[in-house]
């Protein structure tokens, strides 16, 4: 059997690669996909903990994370379309965003 910490390592990897994608990419849609990657890392951690703890509360939490991810996707993609209409670009530098 696979020890639990392997699942957690995988979840940490997914989360960290999402963070990396968010920080280095310039295309807005890819940045948004990186956020989805982070959320999936979160979900895997929840499920792994729920299995170990023998409580299904973690599964319910994942359910809510997915609902929120769906809502965020709808709103976020609508905002992306609105920005694209005004600027004709999906590059964050061009939309003058994330001036760090």
């Amino acid at each position: 059997m696979v020890p639990l910490s392997w699942y957690l390592l995988l979840s940490a990897f997914l989360f960290a690669s999402g963070v990396a994608g968010f920080l280095i990419r310039r295309n807005i849609i890819t940045i948004f996909m990186s956020i989805e990657l982070m959320l999936n890392g979160v979900n895997l951690a929840f499920i792994a903990f729920a299995t170990v703890r023998h409580s299904l509360n973690g599964n319910v939490f994942v359910f809510f994370v997915m609902v929120v991810a769906a809502a965020e996707a709808a709103v976020g993609l609508a905002i992306i379309i609105a920005v694209y209409r005004t600027r004709e670009t999906l590059n964050v530098d061009r939309v003058n965003l994330l001036k760090l």
Partner: protein, 169 residues
């Protein structure tokens, strides 16, 4: 219960997940990234099944891989892709980002190694056939209020999406 098979499937699925996650954040074309993300989502659904969470696995496929990702692809098709292809892929702060991510990753690994002793080493058996039933009971009893509130959240999202995407102001 066949331990060999589960071990094999864990490595198989997690390698797919890791590789496609890297593809998501490195490919130039958003379409390739989206397809790789779908692959990650599907392999995660497999891992959920191995963690005795069939309901979440089903929702993952139907809602995430099916619904959300289709929305992504739809928007990618809507905007001008040729132009996006010509743009620079990464921004200038990638060194800073790399350091930040490595720190975060190291921190997480360190904590998990430390926390290892707290948890049983292996994932134990877990009643699977009542999984959906128990989740249903939890959702409609203990978590009734957030469940109802989620409908308000979706209403806000619908209104917001319509307002933002509408052409005529």
């Amino acid at each position: 219960m066949m331990p060999v098979a589960t071990t094999f499937f864990f490595y198989f699925l997690s390698i797919i997940a890791v590789v496609s996650a890297i593809v998501v954040i490195t490919r130039k074309s958003p379409v390739h990234s989206a397809l790789a993300l779908i692959t990650t989502l599907l392999s995660l659904a497999g891992l959920y099944l191995m963690l005795y969470a069939p309901f979440v696995a089903a929702v993952q496929i139907v809602l995430y891989a099916g619904g959300i990702m289709v929305l992504f692809l739809f928007v990618i098709m809507l905007v001008n892709l040729e132009k996006a292809q010509l743009e620079e892929r990464f921004n200038k702060q990638w060194q800073v980002a790399l350091i930040a991510v490595l720190t975060l990753g190291a921190l997480l690994i360190f904590i998990f190694e430390k926390g290892r002793s707290v948890f049983p080493q292996t994932v134990t058996n877990f009643p699977e056939n009542t999984n959906t039933q128990v989740i249903g009971l939890l959702l409609y009893r203990d978590y009734l209020m957030p469940f109802e509130l989620a409908s308000l959240l979706l209403l806000v999202a619908i209104v917001g999406a319509v307002v933002m995407a509408k052409k005529r102001v």
